[in-house]
């Protein structure tokens, strides 16, 4: 629709620019702080980038901050292991479960379906202690399986794949059968390749979900070598009456934001699809 209202166009730009500035402001200040020395940050309020960027990021990655006892490099590795573990784990077990529910007739099918559905209503926040106890009993505290496995059940991913599988023409399945192929051949040769857009959309959402986990790693990691970066940043802030290493904390915060933000920016199309179709 073509409409000429110059003042309105101006107002639109003004609102959007102000909105973007407010959204970007805290991140900009964080970036600026991550390029100054601690003295510069505490004595003045720098508004423009300083000269100590490489130094600060290098110190964060290889030394870390204060009493935390783990380098940011190590903690980023832990975050990455957890994020990828959760992402691929969820996609993998959800594909299998959705395939069974859609393409097979078997006893208790509906029972399993509802069991998976119920997980939607049980976020980790409502079963904090007993879940911790299960992880402890299974000797999963301070371990990668402990960080990953309890979080990989996913009703949303299972249902998304189910919805997609329902739209796959039955003829494809029949064709494989006529050629003498079994159910697993159909799954790997036809269904998974056809699901790649759904998988990509889920990948973006789940990677962000996994990378940004906080409560669960907080509960089950006490050994610094298993801290994820988000836990580490919180630990860096816990200095009591002392002076926090703001330059290192700000550099670490930037490093904690970069991977998921890059994923959103470079996979924006998949991200929007994933958000509006799945969420979580």
């Amino acid at each position: 629709m073509v409409e000429h209202r110059p003042w309105l166009t101006f107002a639109t730009h003004a609102v959007l620019i102000i909105g973007c500035l407010i959204i970007a402001f805290p991140i900009y200040i964080t970036f600026v702080a991550s390029t100054h020395t601690l003295d510069e940050i505490t004595s003045s309020f720098p508004l423009f980038p300083g000269r100590h960027m490489i130094e600060n990021y290098h110190a964060a990655l290889t030394v870390g901050s204060g009493e935390v006892g783990a380098t940011v490099g190590r903690m980023m590795l832990n975050s990455a292991v957890m994020a990828f573990g959760i992402t691929f784990g969820k996609i993998f077990i959800s594909l299998l479960a959705a395939y069974a529910v859609v393409y097979f007739k078997f006893r208790f099918r509906m029972f399993f379906f509802w069991l998976i559905f119920i997980t939607l209503m049980l976020p980790v926040e409502v079963r904090i202690l007993p879940t911790y106890k299960v992880a402890a009993d299974l000797k999963m505290l301070d371990s990668y399986p402990g960080l990953i496995l309890p979080l990989i059940a996913s009703a949303t991913a299972t249902f998304l794949f189910r919805q997609f599988f329902m739209t796959v023409p039955d003829e494809l399945c029949e064709a494989v059968r006529i050629d003498g192929g079994g159910p697993m051949r159909f799954f790997f040769d036809i269904l998974i390749p056809m699901s790649r857009t759904s998988i990509a959309a889920l990948f973006v959402i789940l990677f962000i979900y996994g990378w940004n986990q906080y409560l669960w790693p907080l509960l089950i990691t006490t050994d610094e070598s298993y801290y994820t970066l988000l836990i580490g940043i919180k630990r860096m802030l816990d200095v009591g009456e002392g002076q926090a290493d703001w330059h290192i904390i700000m550099a670490s915060t930037m490093l904690a934001m970069i991977p998921p933000v890059l994923v959103v920016i470079f996979m924006q199309k998949q991200f929007v699809k994933g958000m509006t179709e799945t969420e979580k």
């Binding site: 629709m1 200040i29 069974a100 559905f117 119920i118 007993p130 159910p183 904390i249």
Partner: protein, 306 residues
């Protein structure tokens, strides 16, 4: 819970015409998902329900069955009731700020203007920032000793110290939590606006309706299903996903001013080791999630007949 889950439940009766028959394979396929679900979801949740009816002695050596006593205790406990009140204020404020800001931005970005894509990207990406990281960003700005905004406020006569002042602490966690949620709401409002047939808007424009009037009489009512969906999602977010915000900035303080229910469950169970009380609080939160899910279903039903 996302739209996909709702759709899946809605057309549950839909089945494939062509299916495989196999004795063991389907069980093998669902096994990983079911095992994880039973071990890490169903079992702990049922433990929480079971423990909510028990009371442990101070040494944790034995426990006695007390029925609903833990619940009775919670609902007469001033600290818990205050936590419920704090949670209500917090969720309402987060939802209101995040939704109104994002609606304004979405309406603006929906107008076909130059640079719309760049604006959209700028507004969407904070979704990738973890709640706890958002908390650190704002905590730094409002930090009483090194924070730029805290300093600016001091120069205009506002004595900012959220570690002592409960109202300021609440304001800060609301800002940090809402800031990140703008992106999420924006995405859905924009999708909702773009789904409105352009012919509606054009017809109104030809009749001489101003852009403002067109928004209130056409776009706004058509967005109501989106808005309703978002209200529920924002409440879920404020209830459960903001744990990191509270934990990083205030740890529930000062003096319980930001002690939201999820934080209290963590604190009572994990730090104070009050198993029965914490379990009873967990059960209450479970009821909250289940209610929100049921509300969403009813809404989806209505949307079908829209």
């Amino acid at each position: 819970m996302g739209p996909a889950a709702l759709e899946a439940i809605k057309d549950l009766s839909m089945e494939k015409r062509v299916v495989f028959r196999h004795k063991f394979l389907p069980y093998l396929l669902v096994a990983p998902q079911i095992v994880i679900t039973l071990v890490f979801f169903i079992w702990p949740a049922s433990q929480a329900i079971y423990q909510s009816a028990l009371r442990e002695d101070p040494f944790g050596l034995s426990s006695t069955f007390v029925g609903l006593e833990n619940f009775a205790e919670i609902f007469t406990n001033d600290i818990y009731l205050h936590s419920v009140y704090v949670t209500a204020i917090f969720s309402f404020s987060v939802a209101l700020i995040a939704m109104s800001t994002s609606l304004l931005l979405a309406v603006m970005a929906d107008r076909a203007i130059r640079g719309a894509t760049a604006y959209k990207t700028m507004i969407i990406w904070p979704y990738a920032v973890a709640p706890v990281v958002a908390a650190v960003l704002w905590y730094f700005l409002f930090n009483p000793t090194v924070g730029m905004i805290a300093f600016t406020l001091k120069t205009v006569g506002v004595d900012w110290n959220h570690t002592l002042n409960g109202r300021q602490a609440m304001l800060l966690v609301i800002i940090a939590a809402a800031w990140r949620e703008i992106s999420y709401n924006f995405l859905f409002f924009l999708a909702g606006l773009q789904a409105i047939p352009k012919s509606f808007i054009e017809a109104a424009a030809i009749d001489g309706a101003s852009p403002v009037k067109r928004f209130w009489t056409i776009a706004f009512p058509l967005l109501s299903p989106t808005a309703f969906f978002l209200i529920v999602m924002n409440i879920v977010y404020a209830f459960f996903d903001t744990f990191g915000v509270i934990h990083a900035i205030t740890e529930g303080g000062p003096n319980g001013a930001t002690n939201i229910m999820v934080y209290k469950v963590y604190h009572d169970g994990f730090l104070s080791l009050d198993l029965g009380g914490s379990a009873a609080q967990s059960v209450i939160l479970m009821i909250v999630v289940i209610s929100l899910t049921v509300i969403q279903f009813r809404y989806i039903e209505r949307k079908v007949h829209y």
